[in-house]
């Protein structure tokens, strides 16, 4: 029986999302593509830092815990509530940040660079290989009431997953401290895999930084916790497991032991965040920078402009988007590196590719709506042909790929990925937290831009 695979975005031709480390398992059937300098044919898509192994950050063992150097401002703001963003450090359109983690209450710290800044997940997750071993050993484990250490299985939309123990750490975002919060140290040698990682996720384990393209994920999705009440009450949640020796079984977990959006764990500026990334010309750019401002309406630097607010569904985090007259469930996801949406009228780059390759650059628009479809706003965006985008750049505001148009109405059909963030201030309002934008009193989860 002939079998074949198609990704929404074909990996066969896409070294685009494949940074400069080579990987034996990577399909190479695209090597016959004509040599050129576009992002579809380049083997080295970004000039960013290596994503492998140890952190390229500052101290290994002991740096001052009081004054982080990781969050130095790139913009005009001088507040400590700022985390610098660079784009493309590991692969095209990856928003990257550094954070400093410390053994709680000590000055044993390490700055971890090349973390994916992700509005599509909640929690700080770092590959064990990116943490100095002697430091890693000192982070206390999070355990259940029987003293069994917890592991967690984080599953992403593409079915990829990360497994490892939960530890507690002091986490510095800029100069702001999230004290003693649970984080995941991604480590597939810990116990056996948790339930979701064992079964339904299938094969998709991302075991190290080389495979991932980043040293970890700083998940700043508008949830306070990655799972919430579901995992407090449901032993078979599959997301959290308690481990006896190497045997890990799905287990309930207190809300305070779950991975949290580190922003919500700050003592101040904890009601949300604002992501600002510079504008990017249609041809693309490199060395694109930005910043994450912590808090909304709490400081002078996060009382800016008068953005439009779109409430997300408090259960699913979904908003809506109407495109070509059809309504889709939508997400705004900095962890997706392009716009993804269905449009059978825009040619794809090849029969096996999910990238769009229109014959001329397309100026498109879609209508973003809140979860109740009351408030709406038209957003214009541009889609260039992916095979005309130069491989000498690593950031593009006009990169787009397809989502199959056969998805039923309950599925996510429109993803506003990283290009949406360029040239904007995008607000992430954290659930159950109140914030003030102008005179508007708001409660998350919401988006504003």
């Amino acid at each position: 029986m002939r079998k074949y695979i198609v990704l929404f975005v074909s990996f066969a031709f896409l070294n685009l999302v494949y940074s400069n480390c080579s990987q034996s398992g990577f399909q190479s059937s695209g090597s016959s593509a004509a040599a050129g300098s576009n992002i579809l044919t380049s083997s080295s898509s970004s000039g960013g830092s290596s994503s492998s192994g140890s952190s390229s950050g500052t101290s290994g063992g002991s740096s001052s815990s009081g004054s982080s150097s990781s969050g130095s401002s790139s913009g005009g703001n001088s507040g400590g509530n700022i985390v610098a963003i660079t784009v493309g450090c590991g692969y095209v359109n990856e928003p990257c940040v550094s954070v400093k983690i410390c053994v709680p209450g000590t000055t044993q710290c390490q700055t971890i660079s090349n973390l994916l800044l992700d509005t599509g997940s909640a929690g700080l997750r770092i590959f064990s290989g990116a943490i100095t071993p002697s430091l890693n050993a000192n982070f206390p484990s999070v355990k259940d009431t029987s003293g069994r250490p917890y592991g967690t299985c984080a599953v992403y939309g593409d079915g990829s997953y990360q497994w490892g123990p939960i530890k507690r750490a002091d986490v510095y975002l800029g100069q702001n401290l999230a004290s003693n919060i649970p984080i995941e140290v991604i480590d597939f040698t810990f116990g056996d895999l948790g339930a979701s990682c064992k079964s339904s996720a299938g094969a998709g384990g991302v075991q190290d930084a080389m495979a991932a393209g980043f040293n970890g994920i700083l998940g700043v999705q508008f949830w306070k916790e990655d799972c919430g009440n579901y995992c407090v009450s449901t032993a078979g949640n599959g997301i959290y497991s308690a481990c006896s020796g190497s045997s890990c079984t799905s287990a309930v977990i207190d809300i305070n032991n779950q991975l949290i959006n580190p922003v919500s764990g700050l003592s101040a500026d904890n009601n949300g965040l604002i992501i600002q990334i510079s504008s990017v010309p249609l041809a693309g750019a490199s060395n694109v920078s930005g910043q994450m401002i912590l808090g909304i309406g709490t400081q002078t630097n996060n009382k800016i402009g008068s953005p439009s607010v779109f409430q997300a569904d408090p259960g699913t985090g979904i908003i809506n988007t109407t495109y070509n007259g059809k309504s889709y469930k939508a997400i705004i996801d900095s962890g997706s590196n392009a716009y993804y949406f269905p449009d059978s009228n825009i040619p794809k780059c090849s029969t096996t590719s999910g990238w769009y390759c229109p014959s001329s650059t397309q100026n498109l628009s879609a209508i973003i709506m809140d979860s109740t479809q009351v408030k709406s706003q038209t957003v214009s965006f541009t889609v260039a042909s992916a095979n005309t985008l130069s491989a000498s750049y690593n950031t593009f505001s006009d990169l787009a790929g397809s989502i199959p148009s056969t998805m039923p109405s309950g599925s996510i059909g429109f993803i506003w990925g990283l290009p949406f963030f360029t040239g904007r201030s995008v607000y992430v309002g954290i659930e159950k937290s109140s914030s003030l934008i102008g005179s508007q009193s708001l409660t998350g989860p919401y988006w504003a831009y």
Partner: protein
């Protein structure tokens, strides 16, 4: 085995089938989910019916043709339900293909296509979803994008 059958009776008075099976065929599949509740069947059109289940952590919808054969299934929830239950006899070929797929950096969705099955999945944390269908079983003239 007895327990599983009892659970089936307890949680549902009608059948739950997997892809390619007839909806009237009582299987053990419900018992393999942690919890099944809120079963709802709607006649969406003359072409198909929707059998909606709330299983542990997700909503599963099965789409059956006029003869009661399940040609598609979707899911949506906190986590991906046990696909071996939903896919039934198609699970093995799915798993083989899924294991061949190399993750694409920066992409949050994936499509798996076997000789007889197409599976698309995606989403973000707390809302993972997917859709699987068997092209050869889709009723003639039915646009999958119109499924509710």
């Amino acid at each position: 085995m007895k327990l599983i059958l009892l659970l089936c009776v307890f949680f549902s008075s009608s059948a739950y089938a997997t892809l390619g099976e007839h909806v009237s065929q009582i299987t053990e599949n419900e018992g393999r989910f942690l919890k099944v509740s809120n079963k709802r069947i709607t006649q969406a059109s003359s072409a198909y019916t929707v059998h909606e289940l709330t299983v542990d952590g997700a909503t599963v919808k099965e789409y059956a043709d006029a003869n009661g054969v399940v040609f598609a299934v979707s899911w949506n929830g906190m986590k991906t339900p046990d696909l071996s239950v939903i896919f039934g006899s198609y699970y093995t070929e799915y798993k083989v293909e899924r294991e061949n797929i190399v993750r694409v950096k920066g992409v949050r969705s994936v499509s798996v296509r076997t000789g007889s099955l197409v599976v698309n999945s995606g989403g973000h944390m707390r809302n993972l979803n997917g859709f699987a269908h068997i092209p050869s079983l889709v009723p003639a003239g039915l646009d999958l994008a119109t499924l509710n």
